[in-house]
Structure formats: structure tokens, C-alpha cells
Point group: C2
Chain length 233, copies 2
């Protein structure tokens, strides 16, 4: 059945609507990784030491390394990876614009909480996808433990000056709010993505109750991450 | 003889002067890779397209990936990698300060010519080292062909507007001049490194004639790279 294809594209992707949704999803993840690199390499300039700067560069490089597989898959799907990313540039750039950290600690919290939230969100969506696409996405989300240094740095800063924790807790809430607001915008502007979540004849989807449960899971995971940093969510 | 060491450090490194020189050399290469990441991720902002930006980010990430092995070796040698890099920060930052590209094409030429020159230089010096250190350094210099996109971009820019080539040729000469000037400063300020080049009782060194030949080889390789870009050296 798939013999007419030159590249090995999963059968599920023969459905044009599903294929369009997968392209959109991979495109938004890919641009997310590029913009994470933008932001982490920029925020790293606020690092108090060379070692801290290098730790943030390591996170940026790891994000970036994930891009390769996603670009290759998009090319296999017959699209220009950069052309399909274009519609998502504005939403992701807006997120970073509205959440530009004002100091090193805000950068660290954003790197940790922001990337964690994005990873949770994409993992939730990946559960509705064919196995190949799901594996590609899940593989692209591993940070190989490189964000762990953030926990030590933030906890130390709170130990040094407990007033820091109130400010960073507010910051974490703002990050969560902006992320949800931009995610909603992306979903609203991209019918294929909304349709993906709604499911199809032969594909499970999410009703409103399921969406609510997903939102609860994301919020709980966010609260856990904040707690790991010693912050209230 | 080496049984008293907990880590596997080559016998050659039991000579304290040689060891000090190797530490200095690895430190300057390591900080060179960090500052290359700084500069490439910053210069990438001038990219005309997302794809071009991502190509420069890829070069930055590859440079950065080389850092891991060198950091590990420095730690094995019993030093704090970041502490030993500190004396080289000023010279490398000065190089980048005096050669800040004013546009995208200058960024590309700098990425290509600057990294090539640094790689040639470290490869020359590596020839005077023990096999383990030499292998580590040579491995850290491979760019896996990621700078090849620069050639296509610069040649296209010259085809589009031939006046570009005169300006970029001057730029290449300035990069070479600044690199030599900073390299000389580094050698003059670090006795261990100068002594390394001079050789020792049981180690070959360079006399003035050999230094002259090395300089000629570096200049020739630089001219070849400029020619690949379609530029006069």
C-alpha cells in the first residue's frame, strides 16, 4: 500500500488532514527549538560566571540538536521545513518578547519552567499521533538532565536571599499565563491542529472534559517543577 | 610509573613544564570555542533568512560540542577548567571586539576564515604534543562540513554584486591581521606556551626558521580559503 512512496512515511499520514496537522505540529516544535536557542544564547549573557554561561549554552545546544530529526521528517513529508515554520514565528516570538527575563535568575526559571511546560504539552499531544511521529517528538523533548543545574542555582539564590522566592514565584505564574495564551492563539489560528485534538473517524480525540483533564495535568506538572525550584506555583 | 595516578594521564604530562603548557593550550582552545559560540549566536541575528540563521546556529553548536572533551581532560589534569581559561578571556574577547562584523556577509567570512585559521594554528601546535593530547585537539577541530554553506552564500553574494568582493577581501585581511596580533599577545604573555614551541631536551621544538615556515603555511591555507570564497587574500 505504501509502495508508491519513495520515502518511508507512516500509512496514517496518507490522510491529508492528519498529515497537515502533523506538519503544523512538527513545524511549531521546530521553530520552538530555534527560538529556544535564540533566547537561551541571549539570556546566557546575564550569567554571573563563565561556567553558568556555558551551562545555558549547553541547554541551547541540546535544544538545537533536536532540530535535525524534525527537519528531516518535514522534508520527507514533502514540505520546506522553513516555509512551514513561518506561520508560527509570530506567536513564539511574542511569547519570548513578553517573557524577556530581567535578570539571570528569571532566565534560569524561564529555561527550566518554560522548556518543561512545552515538553509536557507536546508529549500530551504526541499521545494522539501515529507511533513514528510520536517517537520523533518524544525523542526531541529529552534534555538529558542538562537543566538540573538550574535547580541548584535557584535554590541557592533563595537560600542567600529569601525575598527572591516571592518575585520568582510571580515570574513562574506569568510564564505559565503567557504560554497558555500563546498556545491558545496557535491552536485557534491553525485549524489542522485543532482538528487533530478533536480526533477523527478512526482516531481518538479529546472532548472538552479530556481537554480539561489535560489542562489539569499540565498545571500540576508546572506546580511540581516550581516546587523543585523551591517556589510556589 | 603511572600507577600513582588515579586518572589515565599520559606519561609525557609528568613533566610539570609540559603539563603547564598543555593546560594553557587546552584552556585557550576551550575558551576559543565558548567565544566562538558567543559570536556565532550573536552574528546569526543578522541572517537574512531563518534557514541561514539556523546554519550559523549549527556551526555554533558544533563548536560547543567540542568543549566537553576538553573540559574533561582539563579536569583529569587536576585543574578547574574555567579557572585556567580566565587568563585567555581578554585576548579572545579583544579579537572578537576588534572584528565585530558589520553585516551578514562579514559574519559569514569571519565564521569561515576565522575558524579555519584557528584550526590550522592549533593543528600545527598539536604536532608538538603527546599523541593523546594531539588526538583530543585534532578531534575538537572538525567542523563536520557545516561551514560549507558559507562558500555558497558568499559566492552568490559576489555574483549578485561584484563590488562585494573588494570589501570582503579587505575584511579577510583584517581578520588575519587581528588573529596574528592576538596570537602573538597570547604567546608573549604565557611562558609555558612559548616554551612548548621552543621544545625541550627530549621534545622537538621550533627554531626561528621553523616558525617562519609555519607562518608561511598558515598564510597559504588562509589564501586558499579566501580563494574558495572567491576572494583575494
Amino acid at each position: 500500500m505504501a509502495e508508491s512512496h519513495e520515502t518511508e512515511v507512516p500509512v496514517a499520514l496518507e490522510d491529508p488532514a492528519y498529515r497537515a496537522a502533523v506538519v503544523d505540529l512538527l513545524a511549531v516544535i521546530a521553530y520552538g527549538e530555534i527560538s529556544a536557542f535564540d533566547r537561551l544564547s541571549e539570556d546566557a549573557k546575564m550569567a554571573p560566571t563563565l561556567e553558568d554561561k556555558v551551562s545555558l549554552y549547553a541547554m541551547a545546544s541540546i535544544e538545537f540538536g533536536h532540530l535535525t530529526g524534525i527537519r528531516e521528517r518535514l522534508t520527507e513529508l514533502g514540505v520546506d521545513p522553513f516555509a512551514v515554520m513561518a506561520p508560527f514565528v509570530s506567536a513564539l516570538d511574542s511569547f519570548h518578547h513578553y517573557t524577556a527575563p530581567s535578570d539571570w535568575l528569571e532566565s534560569l526559571v524561564k529555561a527550566y519552567v518554560g522548556d518543561g511546560l512545552a515538553a509536557d504539552f507536546y508529549r500530551e499531544i504526541a499521545a494522539f499521533l501515529d507511533a513514528d511521529t510520536r517517537d520523533l517528538i518524544v525523542a526531541s523533548l529529552s534534555d538529558a538532565g542538562h537543566s538540573e543545574f538550574v535547580v541548584a542555582r535557584v535554590k541557592q539564590a533563595i537560600a542567600d536571599d529569601h525575598r527572591v522566592s516571592g518575585r520568582l514565584a510571580l515570574w513562574g505564574r506569568r510564564l505559565m499565563g503567557e504560554a497558555l495564551s500563546q498556545a491558545q492563539r496557535v491552536a485557534a489560528e491553525h485549524d489542522a491542529l485543532s482538528a487533530l485534538l478533536a480526533g477523527g473517524v478512526d482516531r481518538p480525540g479529546m472532548d472538552l472534559a479530556a481537554l480539561g483533564r489535560m489542562f489539569t495535568r499540565l498545571t500540576e506538572a508546572h506546580a511540581l517543577r516550581m516546587a523543585e525550584l523551591g517556589l510556589e506555583a
